[in-house]
C-alpha cells in the first residue's frame, strides 16, 4: 500500500479523559484539496489541529494511534515540533495578523528561519502576497498596520504569511467563515490555485464551498469519521445515511 501525504491509523484523541476523536483512519493525498465537513463539535477542527500538533497547546490532550506525515509519525518522541509546523502551516478561522505592518507580518516567518537579507525578504514578501492574491491591494502600503485591512484582506494576508514559510501542507480551519461572499469567492479561488503547489486540508461549515473546491471530502460526526471519498461521490451518492442526511440538510 502506498502511503499518502497524510495518513492516520486508529487515531484516538482525549480531552482530559473525554474521548473527542474515535478511531480515525484516513489517507489524505498530496497536492489535492481535502475538505472536512460535519456539524459543530464533531471533532473536525480538533483533528485538523492534531495534524500540526497545535493541540499540544491545550492542557490535558492525549493522542493514541498513528499520525503519519510523509511516513513519519509526528507524535514520535524525537519529532521537532517547531520544524513540523514549518512543514505543516495553518490558517485559522479568525484572521489573526500580528500587530505589525503588512510587510513585517509576512517577513516574520522567513526572519525566524534566519533570513535577514533585505532583498531576499522583499522578494519573499512580494511572492507570498502575489500567491495569496493580495499584492495589488497592498503593494503601495506595505508599511501600514495589518490591522487596518478589511476582514477578507486580513485573511488573505494570513494565508500569504503561511505561504511565506514555504510549507508542504496548509491546514485551513474555516478560513472563510467570517467573510462576505465576495471575499469568500476570492479565498476559494486562491485555494484552488494553491493546490498546484501545496497539499491543502480545509475545514468548512459551508457545504457548497466543500463541493466547489475540494477533491476529497470527509464527513465527521460525533468524533468519528463517518465517510470519506471523492467529493463528487459524497455529494451525489453517499454510502451512509448520516452523510446523506447532513448534506441534504435533514439532519437531527
Amino acid at each position: 500500500m502506498i502511503l499518502e501525504k497524510i495518513h492516520t491509523e486508529n487515531m484516538y484523541l482525549y480531552y482530559s479523559g473525554k474521548m473527542a476523536l474515535k478511531d480515525i483512519s484516513i489517507q489524505i493525498p498530496e497536492k489535492k484539496v481535502t475538505a472536512f465537513i460535519g456539524p459543530s463539535g464533531c471533532g473536525k477542527s480538533t483533528f485538523l489541529r492534531s495534524l500540526n500538533r497545535m493541540n499540544d497547546l491545550i492542557d490535558g490532550v492525549k493522542i493514541e494511534g498513528k499520525v503519519m506525515i510523509d511516513a513519519i509519525n509526528i507524535y514520535d518522541k524525537n519529532i521537532d515540533v517547531v520544524n513540523l509546523r514549518k512543514k505543516v502551516g495553518m490558517v485559522f478561522q479568525k484572521s489573526n495578523p500580528f500587530a505589525k505592518s503588512i510587510y513585517e507580518n509576512i517577513a516574520y516567518g522567513p526572519k525566524i528561519n534566519g533570513i535577514n537579507n533585505k532583498n531576499q525578504l522583499d522578494e519573499i514578501v512580494e511572492t507570498a502576497l502575489k500567491n495569496a492574491a493580495i499584492w495589488d491591494e497592498v503593494k503601495d502600503r506595505l508599511g501600514d498596520s495589518a490591522l487596518g485591512l478589511s476582514g477578507g484582506q486580513q485573511q488573505r494576508l494570513c494565508i500569504a504569511r503561511t505561504l511565506a514559510v514555504n510549507p508542504e501542507i496548509v491546514l485551513m480551519d474555516e478560513p472563510a467563515s467570517a467573510l462576505d461572499p465576495l471575499s469568500t469567492a476570492k479565498i476559494e479561488e486562491l485555494i484552488v490555485q494553491l493546490k498546484e503547489k501545496y497539499t491543502i486540508v480545509i475545514v468548512t461549515h459551508n457545504m457548497q464551498q466543500a463541493a466547489r473546491i475540494s477533491d476529497n471530502t470527509a464527513f465527521f460526526y460525533l468524533g468519528e469519521l463517518i465517510e470519506y471519498d471523492k467529493t463528487k461521490k459524497i455529494f451525489t451518492n453517499p454510502e451512509r445515511k448520516q452523510t446523506e442526511d447532513y448534506i441534504t440538510g435533514r439532519f437531527g
Binding site: 500540526n52 497545535m54 497547546l57 492542557d59 517547531v82 520544524n83 509546523r85 514549518k86 512543514k87 502551516g89 495553518m90 485559522f92 479568525k94 489573526n96 495578523p97 500580528f98 500587530a99 505589525k100 505592518s101 503588512i102 510587510y103 513585517e104 516574520y108 516567518g109 526572519k111 525566524i112 528561519n113 502600503r141 508599511g143 501600514d144 498596520s145 495589518a146 490591522l147 487596518g148 494570513c158 504569511r161 503561511t162 514559510v165
Partner: protein, 417 residues
C-alpha cells in the same frame, strides 16, 4: 406596589391578555429616588476627589510662587550690613566678614576660628575624617557667626524680597546649601541626581521585571503562575522604609565589597534599592499586558514554525508595548517620588556628577529631609515647594511624552501606521 404592577405588565405582554390595569404609563416621568441619590452621591464623590487633587496642585504651586514674584519686586535695604555684604560678594570669597571666609559643609556651621581659610566643599573633601565628624553637628561658633546668622534670619522672616532675589539667582547653580549665612539653592545637582538615580533604577528594574513577567505570562505552567504572580504582587505593597533599611545595612556593604568603590552610600546603591521597590509594580502591569495579548497571536506564530521564545520576543512583547510602557512609567513615577529609600541609601550629598558611584541627593529626599525644619515663609521654604512643583511637572512631562510620543510615533514604528 409599582414593582408588582410591572410584573403583571410584562407577563401581560407575552401572552397578550389584557388586565384592568392597562398598559404601562410612559407618558408621565417617574421620579426614582434611589437612582437620583446614587447618581448625586457618585457625582459628589468624583468631584470631591478631583477637587482635592487640584487643590494640592494649587497649594504646592502657590507656596513656590513667591520666589518668582520677588525677583522683579522693589528693592529693600538690608537691615544688617554684614548680611548684605555677604550677599553681594556671593560666589567669591572675600575677607569682609568672618562669615564669608568659610565655605560651609552642608548643614553645619563650622568652627571658623579653627579652620579659617580652609575651603571645603562637600564632596571634594581633602580630609574626610574631619568632615564626617562635623556632619550635622554644630560645633562651637564664633560670636560673630552667631550674630550674623541670627540677623540673617531676622531679615528672612521680615522681608524675604531681597533675600529671595539673590536666592533665585542661585537656583541654577550646583550648590545646595540652604542653611547658611549666604544660602544657595542650586537645584541643578538635585535634578541631575534624581534623574541619575531614576535611570539607574530603571536600567536595573525594567529588564528584570519585564523578563520575569514574560516568563510568567508565556512560559510558566499554570500552577507556577498561580504561585509567582500573587507573591510578586504582594511585594508591591512592601514598605519602602524596609527596603531602605535593607539597602542601608546589607546591600550597600555587599555592593561595595563587590565593586570596590569609595563612597558606601551612592546613587548606584540607591538606584538598585529603588529598583527593588519598582520591580513588583512593573512586573504586575507588564504581566497583565502580556496576558492580554490575544492567544491567536501566539498560535499564529507557533503555526509558522516559530519557537516559544521567538514568539515571546518577536510577537507577544511587541504587541504588549503600550502596556509595558505604562508599566515602566509607573515604575519611574514610583522611583521619582520615592523618598524614604533615597534618604536612607543614597548618601544625600548634592553632588553634580554623572558618576554612579558618587553620593546623590534627590528632589523628593530633599523635601523629606528639610521640610520639617524649615522656617515658615522663608526662601528655603519656598524653594522646597518649588521642588515639589517640579516633581509634579516632571511627572506630568514624562506622562505627556509617553502619551504623545510613544502612542504616536513609536507605536507606528512597531505596529505599522
Amino acid at each position: 406596589m409599582g414593582r408588582k404592577k410591572n410584573k403583571g405588565k410584562s407577563s401581560n405582554y407575552s401572552d397578550s391578555e389584557s388586565h384592568d390595569s392597562g398598559l404601562i404609563d410612559i407618558t408621565r416621568k417617574k421620579f426614582r429616588l434611589g437612582d437620583y441619590v446614587a447618581e448625586k452621591v457618585i457625582k459628589g464623590v468624583a468631584f470631591l476627589s478631583i477637587t482635592i487633587i487640584v487643590l494640592i496642585f494649587t497649594f504646592v504651586f502657590r507656596e513656590a510662587f513667591p520666589i518668582f514674584n520677588s525677583s522683579n519686586g522693589e528693592k529693600k535695604e538690608a537691615a544688617v550690613q554684614t548680611v548684605k555684604d555677604s550677599q553681594e560678594t556671593y560666589g567669591s570669597v572675600t575677607d569682609q566678614t568672618p562669615v564669608a571666609q568659610t565655605q560651609e559643609t552642608y548643614g553645619s556651621v563650622v568652627d571658623t576660628s579653627a579652620k579659617e581659610g580652609v575651603q571645603e566643599t562637600y564632596g571634594e573633601v581633602t580630609d574626610k575624617q574631619q568632615v564626617q565628624e562635623q556632619y550635622g553637628v554644630q560645633t562651637s561658633q564664633d560670636q560673630d557667626t552667631i550674630s550674623a546668622s541670627k540677623s540673617t534670619y531676622t531679615v528672612n522672616a521680615g522681608s524675604g524680597t531681597d533675600d529671595n532675589r539673590s536666592a533665585i539667582k542661585t537656583l541654577i547653580t550646583k550648590d545646595w546649601v540652604p542653611v547658611s549665612d549666604k544660602p544657595r539653592y542650586g537645584i541643578l545637582a538635585l535634578i541631575i541626581g534624581t534623574f541619575k538615580i531614576t535611570l539607574i533604577s530603571m536600567l536595573f528594574a525594567a529588564p528584570l521585571a519585564i523578563l520575569a513577567a514574560l516568563y510568567t505570562a508565556v512560559f510558566a505552567t499554570k500552577k507556577m503562575k498561580e504561585i509567582i504572580k500573587p507573591t510578586i504582587e504582594l511585594l508591591a505593597g512592601f514598605p519602602s522604609v524596609v527596603i531602605g533599611f535593607f539597602a542601608l545595612m546589607v546591600l550597600a556593604t555587599f555592593l561595595q565589597n563587590f565593586f570596590h568603590y569609595e563612597t558606601r552610600l551612592n546613587s548606584f546603591v540607591g538606584g538598585i534599592a529603588m529598583g527593588i521597590a519598582a520591580i513588583p509594580i512593573i512586573f504586575t502591569i507588564t504581566e497583565d499586558a502580556l496576558t492580554a495579548v490575544p492567544k491567536s497571536f501566539y498560535e499564529a506564530s507557533l503555526a509558522l514554525g516559530a519557537s516559544k521564545w521567538q514568539t515571546a520576543f518577536f510577537v507577544i512583547l511587541p504587541a504588549a508595548t503600550p502596556g509595558i510602557f505604562a508599566a515602566i512609567l509607573l515604575g519611574i513615577g514610583r522611583v521619582f517620588g520615592e523618598t524614604m529609600i533615597a534618604l536612607m541609601a543614597t548618601g544625600n550629598a548634592a553632588l553634580m556628577t554623572l558618576n554612579p558611584f558618587d553620593s546623590v541627593r534627590t528632589l523628593a529626599a530633599t523635601i523629606g529631609a528639610e521640610m520639617a525644619e524649615v522656617v515658615f515663609g522663608d526662601t528655603h521654604y519656598n524653594v522646597l515647594f518649588l521642588i515639589g512643583s517640579m516633581l509634579f511637572i516632571f511627572t506630568f512631562v514624562i506622562n505627556a511624552i509617553a502619551e504623545f510620543y510613544v502612542k504616536g510615533k513609536l507605536m507606528k514604528r512597531i505596529q505599522g501606521k
